[in-house]
């Protein structure tokens, strides 16, 4: 009998590799899948990430590279991570082509003063860097300014930028940062109203803003992405890989002669990259690195970043209102975060909640697309300062 059971020793060895941390990660993977399917929270990312978390945490998983004796078996998820994120950062960059092809900058071009809300609503990034520098060393004394900056980038409300910046800065926290960035983006409809109501009165939320869009010529829409690329290149050269590809996608959309490519970029390319990005990032969700106090602190800091982005935008709008006759609804400032288009929709909903005739959507969209530019610019500026 014992001889017979000895044939199954390898199974026992595999079970011995199972730790409670791996169990926690598999449960986290299941929760992400549940949120994606049942709650429809960023399903295109949370589902692959959730499934990937399960794949990489099964003991001796073939999804990650294993060395058994003299044999090294290459795991596909580890190979993907090393090739397309660690080796080249190409996935987040390619994703930007698709995002650029999705965005219509028309509302911003017809109402350009709202561009500054995009900048103001990035303050959460920088405040979070400061807070990280105080909190993270409590659990990890060897954490560096690059780690703090990467965590701050969760406040960009822009998953690809957060991943790219943390990767370029060689932060060890890319897994928790990606999970926090995408989870909170999905939670924008819950987080933003709370943050906005914290710093606005109902009277302020009722402020109406007439919408009188100026016509924007097709030529202007074509020149805009080229101009932004050049300007961003001079201000923050490190941002070119982000801004440049975003604007390249937008140029495909606006040029009018590459509709098929624009369509492919905004649908097929985005879907393909998103599918692989989620499962690739899951490589950094291995139990020993993920189930730590650091992760818990990063999740809290990510929430702080999102809240203070929104508050920063609102307070900036209030500041502008002190000097202008035509008042801006302060909630529009909160749309300056990059979570597009969820944030604009949230502001529209809050506006209608305060006054059923108060339509803020187009103003919020303007601030929202400005936030898209500002968040990648902020990422580039951070890289420029730290590299």
């Amino acid at each position: 009998m014992n001889v017979f059971l000895a044939n199954f020793d390898f199974l026992w060895e595999q079970f011995q590799e199972f730790t409670w941390k791996k169990g926690v990660m598999i449960i986290i993977g299941l929760i992400l899948i549940f949120l994606a399917i049942k709650k429809k929270m960023e399903p295109s990312l949370l589902l692959p990430m959730g499934f990937g978390a399960i794949l990489v945490n099964i003991p001796l998983s073939g999804a990650i590279t294993q060395t058994i004796g003299d044999n090294t078996i290459i795991g596909p998820i580890e190979w993907l991570f090393e090739t397309v994120i660690d080796g080249s950062e190409i996935f987040p960059v390619l994703l930007f082509i698709g995002i650029g092809a999705m965005i219509d900058f028309g509302p911003l071009l017809s109402n350009p003063k709202l561009i500054f809300f995009g900048a103001a609503a990035q303050v959460g990034i920088f405040l979070t860097i400061i807070l990280s520098s105080f909190l993270l060393p409590l659990v990890n004394p060897s954490a560096t300014i690059n780690d703090f900056a990467s965590i701050g980038m969760i406040g960009a409300a822009d998953g690809p930028t957060s991943i790219l910046v943390s990767q370029v800065l060689k932060s060890n926290y890319i897994g928790p940062i990606a999970v926090a960035a995408y989870s909170y983006m999905a939670l924008v409809p819950i987080v933003q109203p709370l943050a906005i109501k914290l710093v606005t009165t109902k009277k302020e939320r009722m402020i109406r803003m007439p919408y009188n869009p100026k016509g924007v010529s097709k030529t202007a829409k074509i020149i805009f992405p080229i101009a932004v690329t050049v300007i961003a290149g001079f201000i923050a050269p490190a941002s070119i890989s982000l801004v440049g590809f975003l604007m390249f996608g937008n140029l495909l959309r606006e040029c009018g002669v590459l509709d098929d490519l624009s369509d492919t970029a905004s649908k097929t390319l985005v879907n393909l990259i998103t599918l692989l990005l989620g499962i690739t990032v899951a490589f950094k969700m291995q139990a020993e690195d993920f189930v730590t106090w650091d992760t818990l602190i990063i999740m809290c800091l990510g929430l702080f970043a999102f809240i203070f982005d929104s508050i920063g935008g609102v307070l900036f709008a209030k500041l502008i209102n002190l000097f202008t006759k035509d008042k801006i609804n302060p909630m529009v400032g909160a749309a300056g975060i990059s979570a597009f288009p969820m944030s604009a929709r949230v502001i529209q909903k809050l506006g209608l909640e305060a006054d059923p005739e108060n339509h803020l959507l187009m103003h919020a969209v303007s601030a929202n697309v400005a936030g898209q530019i500002a968040s990648v610019l902020a990422g580039g500026i951070l890289l420029g300062i730290l590299l």
């Binding site: 071009l109 900048a119 300014i145 300007i231």
Partner: protein, 46 residues
């Protein structure tokens, strides 16, 4: 207070003002570019 801070904490404070300043300058230049672009008309619009 400042002398009690680690170099990383001081650096993060510097990043706050440097980053926000450069970001506003960048967005300001893009704003000026948009104002210039508003003067651009399509040929048939002239």
């Amino acid at each position: 207070m400042l002398f009690l801070m680690s170099s990383a904490q001081t650096q993060s404070l510097n990043i706050l003002w440097q980053g926000m300043l450069v970001l506003f300058i960048g967005m300001g230049i893009i704003y000026l570019a948009i104002l210039l672009l508003s003067l651009v008309k399509d040929r048939k619009e002239k």
